[in-house]
Amino acid sequence: MEELARIVPYFGTHNPKVARAIVIAIMLCAPVAALGVGPAWVRILDFALLYVMLAVGLNLVVGFAGLLDLGYIAFYAVGAYTWAFLASPHFGVHLPFWVVLPLGAGFAALAGVILGFPVLRLRGDYLAIVTLGFGEIVRIFMNNLNHPINITNGPQGINMLDSLHIFGWDISRKIVISDDFSITSLLLYYYVFLAFVVLSVILVKRMQVSRIGRAWAAIRDDDLAAKAVGINLRNCKLLAFAMGATFGGVAGGLFGAFQGFVSPESFSLMESIIVLAMVVFGGMGNIGGVIIGALILSWLPEVLRSYAVPMQTALFGHVLLDPEILRMLVYALALIFMMLLRPAGLIPAHSRYSKPELVLGKRIDVSGGGVQA
């Protein structure tokens, strides 16, 4: 929150309260504004929020604990398939969201621990390769577990997932207030997702400024020294994998409910890379940066999709570059320029893992210049 407020032009540095109010206002009004352009844009916003949740979860593993995870989307898949199994006609089970979501999160956390154990001793590139393999294994399982017993329905995916019912109220149905005024379900989903995102961010921030967050940062900066101050590396790494996976699992469940359909192709390696790109692009370790990164990189392709084709037909008379190709090009360019101009990400991490003001009151200069005289 503070990180986001600080980047508001002018007010961010001059009047934090106003900056914060602006951020909240944007968060609340964005879908209404998007609705003015077209309902498709609200849908894009909804997806952007899911990506924010994924990026915030992945940031916990990559940004805080320094464990490069290229198979993160597997946890998203676990969450989504949990929803598909427990809330769809596929098995004929229809459990409410407050059972399915925690279960999805739990299964994802379990998957995180399962991934975590074999990779405890790996670092950097080696860790990336194994996690990448893990992500693919999960996807291939989803793809092939339709035979001999049909569990996942294979490549066709599972259809007609239950939508989100909150206390008996189906938010996929629009609220009709009068004949010409109604609130679409897209808008409702937006606010539900927003609530989940805000909750995730609060929880992640609490972990960051705590004994656990500091232990993660210590492992990231120097694991030998972390051992030497008495940190149990195994437990801390497993906890990082499990907690990161939990957020992925919740996001996956929400995705299933929102989309109404899951299939293995939504969980390809490319998705893992995109989420990682969001984290790196925004600024590893900085929650505000990661949120901005996720928002920009999930909006950009959609903007391209809607403007690239008409623009090209207007300019050249026919479509030269498919938007899908353009999307990859823009991603690549964005990352290359990022590495050249701002190697630490859009908003470099000034992440704090403590609250010095607890002891020092106002004597301390939080910007890092030491205590003021």
């Binding site: 929880l203 609490r206 972990m207 400024v209 705590s210 004994r211 656990i212 500091r214 232990a215 940062a217 210590a218 990231r220 900066d221 120097d222 030998l224 020294a225 972390a226 051992k227 030497a228 101050v229 008495g230 940190i231 149990n232 590396l233 906890l239 907690m243 370790g285 991490a349 992440s351 704090r352 893992y353 403590s354 609250k355 010095p356 607890l358 002891v359 020092l360 301390i364 200069d365 939080v366 910007s367 890092g368 210049g369 030491g370 205590v371």
Partner: protein, 255 residues
Amino acid sequence: MIKLLEARGIHKRFGGLQALTDVSLSINKGEIYGLIGPNGAGKTTFFNVLSGAYTPEEGEFVFAGAELPYGQPHKIVQRGIARTFQNIRLFRELTALENVMVGHHTRSTAGLFGILFQRKHVREEERLVTERAYELLKYVGIERFANTVSKNLSYGDQRRLEIARALATEPQLLALDEPAAGMNATETTHLRALIETIRHDGVTVLLIEHDVKLVMGLCDRVAVLDFGKKIVEDVPVVVQKNAAVIEAYLGGAHA
């Protein structure tokens, strides 16, 4: 004299290299114990075996009356042995204050759910840890830089910070690996005063050092390692006159 740490017949081999051969020594409670020896004598290896980073082939450590576990550095820290490194190893992206707070890890208890729900005892612990960390920065004299990212500290201050971080684990035995390396004369004098204060406050100190003057002036007892073997263990005055020690340092011709 109460023995705090006793090493019994420690052997450590790296492939064909016998790094430590039958090293036995004992450190008394409340003393400053020096471990010296020429380069490659096995001093740092001894440290790494003691702190659990390496497992010895033979031998055992008895610390405060009970044997130390092998290969689990975090358990050894819990038992009350803290160490610093020859080449400084700080958590570079964390501030000085946070570095020391990480040191409190084993002495604090906040669990995952306490943190997620910000339970009262967790908030209280967080405040105490912050306070204690600041006190420790004051103790080593770098509280001005509490909020400076540790990689931006000067060399001497980084050394001090590493000591503060080690003290944060509330050790009975503080093992310092060449703390004066690369320090100028003034910094060494300050360091010496700091080590004396630490001892005065009840922490036993094990000191590996190249600066013979510092060791001889500071330590109550000194052991000398050469080629992985302990050649002598005694008070500094005696060690200085020992023929084997002079030979190890200056070569056979001078003995």
